[in-house]
């Protein structure tokens, strides 16, 4: 296939549908050829609630991307998210038959299969079974067991699963448009591919992707993903809070959030006001700045504290050498870094897609991290030359 090295990442987000067309270079880098986007309709908290209207937005975004990149889009990597998606770690093991003592590549598949026998709710399906570590006869730190001698092969996996019907909705939406889906990817996992480099993954990092309707997280320790998930809270909630609290329309609240909002308290003068202007530029309503920030602060702090509680359930918080990396549209909120540092008690950086070249607007905007991440995910799974067993094994998804 001539265009085998061109991949497309498609994310149906709560606020926008985003399509990133990327070319996988032979040297292992990714060049972004074009980005298409369209505001999304019929998506709530990362999940499709209106397939028809959502389909239109996707079509629009794809047409936009085709226009800009000059590529016919037929296959995509689809990002999926939603609070129904859960994850856990499980170990699979396989004991070699007596007449064989060398581990074959098929055994790796058997181990994975065994790990997948873990109980998940009946109506859920597996999204990812990501390899963490191999053990051969209990020996730790084996990178590639194929060809090694051993009796018992074990491996830890990070398993991500979600409600099948909800995932099918996203898939159906694309099927209606005659787009083929190469793979579905849990968006925090994709975003982590874009914003975290190998070094950060190795020393331990937490990636937070705060989008419009959801906040996804993925935690890496020793180079492997150990915890991931998604909460149904995002930038939309800020807008909603402001609209309800300050009694202003949603559109105004959104604008206010972007232009004036901050989650740092005590930075404004007493009695300092923000003037809300109507479309003709006339002064409309006066809003106390501290109140505006307070509403935003409370929501973001609560979300972080909730995530913190969620992460404390696992044993990994102490292993985050690289701290927290925040991306996604809402990461553009002023002061979010300080608030995150305050809650998580570790260094925080705001980040966008790394190690890509091409259309600068694509990787310079944290909104596109997930879509770029989908392309990076594709790069990792297609894995050209150095793929080996990994290549074979990842095709299992």
């Amino acid at each position: 296939m001539a265009k085998a090295n061109i991949v497309v990442g498609l994310e149906i987000g709560t606020s926008k549908v985003c399509v990133v067309v990327g070319e996988l270079k032979r040297d292992g880098t990714v060049q972004i050829l074009g980005v298409g986007e369209a505001p999304s309709v019929g998506v709530r908290k990362g999940e499709i609630v209106d397939i028809d209207n959502c389909g239109k937005c996707v079509r629009e975004a794809i047409a936009d991307a085709e226009d800009k990149s000059d590529v016919m889009i037929k296959n995509v990597y689809l990002g999926i998210t939603g609070a129904h998606i859960r994850s856990f770690n499980n170990r699979g093991s396989f004991t070699l038959p007596d007449d064989r003592e060398k581990i074959e590549s098929a055994d790796v598949g058997r181990v994975q299969e065994e790990a997948r026998t873990a109980p998940i709710p009946a109506h859920n399906m597996f999204i990812h079974t990501v390899l963490q570590h191999f053990y051969v006869d209990g020996q730790d730190g084996v990178l590639n067991p194929v060809g090694m001698f051993g009796r018992k092969l074990e491996a830890d996996f990070h398993i991500v699963h979600g409600v099948a019907n909800r995932i099918k909705n996203s898939i159906q939406c694309l099927c209606d448009l005659d787009i083929e889906i190469e793979d579905i990817v849990f968006t925090p996992y994709a975003a982590a591919q874009a914003v975290l480099d190998q070094g950060q993954k190795n020393i331990g990092a937490l990636m937070l992707d705060i989008g419009g309707g959801t906040t996804g997280y993925a935690m890496y320790v020793k180079g492997a993903i150990v915890q991931s998930g998604c909460v149904g809270i995002g930038g939309d909630h800020l807008t909603n809070d402001l609209s309800l609290g300050l009694r202003i329309p949603m559109g105004k609240a959104e604008m206010l959030k972007i232009k004036e909002g901050s989650c740092v308290l005590g930075n404004s003068l007493p009695g300092e006001n923000v003037t809300l202007r109507d479309e003709h530029g006339f002064a409309g309503k006066e809003i106390e700045r501290e109140m505006l920030n307070q509403i935003i602060h409370m929501r973001i702090r609560e979300t972080f504290e909730f995530l913190m509680r969620e992460l404390e359930k696992g044993p990994y918080l102490d292993y985050l050498g690289a701290g927290v990396v925040i991306t996604g549209g809402t990461s553009a909120l002023r002061g979010i870094k300080h608030l995150a540092e305050d809650v998580f008690q570790m260094p925080v950086q705001l980040c966008r897609a790394q190690n890509v070249s091409g259309v600068a607007s694509a990787f310079e905007n944290p909104q596109y991290s997930t879509a770029v991440g989908l392309v990076k995910y594709a790069q990792a799974t297609i894995g050209d030359e150095g793929g080996g067993w990994l290549d074979w094994f990842k095709r299992w998804f």
Partner: protein, 433 residues
């Protein structure tokens, strides 16, 4: 009392359901039409016409001479006198039953007047008595509310368990445009379903059994207003759907009411193909709706008659208790230990350590402030109870009109029983200028 039921529960206990008065009769009809065994249903009324229209297997005309078959005219005194006159018939109708369910609408004459007496007679006959009552809609006027509260106080002295539904709450569930008839039909249906569920769950032996003790834990509290939800489903995703339906029941308020509950009884019924996985998935989902401190009493029953259907009943009571420091532990202890043997009057004395006290206790139970003043005039109730009640109601009011803005129609994000779609500043009570 617990021991006694258990020892006799090798076979399912014989049950009689008594529908008292007009409202009780309606519930009873609903129950029979829903498939409950008509032979177990006893309709009792002072009004002959209504009684004749009932589909119950057994009918008792209360007070043929007292009311001359014309009904009680909304006067509990008449209702009581009528029941007293027909004592022998009542005893005959409920004799032999190990459990007697009494349903009545409080506020009128027959239900309010006769229910305490019927409960008393049933207890004397050695049966376990569970009373289902509805409190009148507030638009029915203060007078009826007052009568209802008086009756409720008396019933609570007689019955083993009282499951109390507020018509106001249930009425909210029917759409504003639907007729008043619809509102009453809805409440009847809810009551009928809850009686069937409770009869089912204490009557059947389950893999994880639920007994009356579990029921008592859930319902025996100071502000016992029942929350009840039932859902049934079949098909691939039945566990999820059944729970969703149960939570969609009007009294559940999409599960939001559960966040405040202190104890919840969950009973799952299914056919032989009920899997452990389904149960665990359902409970996991259910756990999201309650807070960590909530005590879950859980039961599973399988019955071939269920076929592929999976049903889940959720029963709880609003227990955002005004803390009544001393009396409550004493009350609960006494109820559990003494209930069966103690004659009702003595039991009240034991519980409250003074004969006049049951009224104030009742006073505290009533969360509706509108009824408070009426109550004071009618009874010896102490004035101090009323303010406490008002305070509590005010607190509840502020929680009620929850505004979720654009997330109003979507699936709520509920974590630890907290609806995160509601603005944080509202939940944390930040005053916005």
């Amino acid at each position: 009392m617990i021991e006694i039921t258990r020892s006799t529960s090798h076979v399912s206990p014989t049950i009689k359901v008594v529908g008292l008065g007009g409202a009780g009769g309606n519930v009873l009809d609903r129950l029979v039409l829903d498939g409950f065994d008509a032979a177990c249903a006893v309709a009792m009324n002072t009004d002959v016409q209504t009684l004749n229209g009932s589909v119950a297997g057994e009918k008792v005309h209360l007070g043929p001479t007292t009311s001359r078959g014309l009904g009680s005219g909304g006067d509990p005194e008449v209702g009581y006198a009528a029941a007293e006159e027909s004592t022998d018939e009542i005893v005959a109708a409920i004799s032999g039953a190990q459990m007697v369910f009494i349903c009545a609408g409080l506020g009128g004459g027959t239900g309010s007047g006769a229910a305490p007496l019927v409960a008393h007679l049933a207890r004397k006959a050695g049966a376990m008595v569970i009373v289902f009552v509805t409190l009148p809609f507030s638009f029915e006027g203060k007078r009826r509310n007052t009568q209802a509260m008086e009756a409720l106080a008396q019933i609570e002295g007689q019955a083993d368990l009282v499951v109390c539904f507020e018509n106001d709450r249930m009425g909210e569930s029917s759409s504003p445009s639907s007729g008043i008839q619809q509102a009453f039909v809805t409440t009847d249906a809810i009551l009928s379903q809850s009686i069937r569920s409770i009869a089912g769950l204490v009557g059947q032996r389950g893999w994880v059994a639920v007994g009356l003790d579990d029921l008592a834990v859930v319902l025996r509290r100071q502000q016992a207003r029942a929350l009840f939800g039932y859902g049934e489903s079949e098909g691939a995703n039945r566990a999820h759907e059944a729970l969703e339906r149960a939570l969609r029941c009007p009294l559940m308020d999409k599960g939001r009411m559960l966040a405040e509950a202190q104890a919840v009884l969950v009973h799952v019924t299914g056919g032989p193909d009920l899997t452990l996985n389904e149960v665990s998935v359902m409970m996991e989902e259910f756990n999201r709706h309650i807070s960590d401190g909530t005590r879950i009493n859980f039961g599973v029953t399988t019955d071939a008659r269920h076929g592929r259907r999976l049903g889940v009943s959720i029963l709880s009571s609003t227990g955002d208790a005004v803390v009544v420091p001393q009396s409550r532990p004493a009350l609960q202890k006494q109820v559990v230990v003494e209930k069966k043997e103690a004659p009702p009057a003595k039991e009240q004395a034991l519980v409250f350590e003074a004969d006049q006290e049951p009224e104030p206790f009742e006073e505290l139970e009533e969360p509706q402030p509108v009824k408070a003043p009426a109550k004071i005039t009618s009874q010896t109730a102490p004035a101090k109870a009323a303010p406490a009640k008002k305070e509590e109601k005010a607190e509840q009011m502020s929680l009620e009109p929850v505004n979720r803005g654009r997330f109003d129609k979507g699936e709520p994000t509920i974590v630890d029983g907290e609806d995160l779609d509601v603005p944080t500043f509202l939940r944390k009570n930040l005053k916005v200028k």
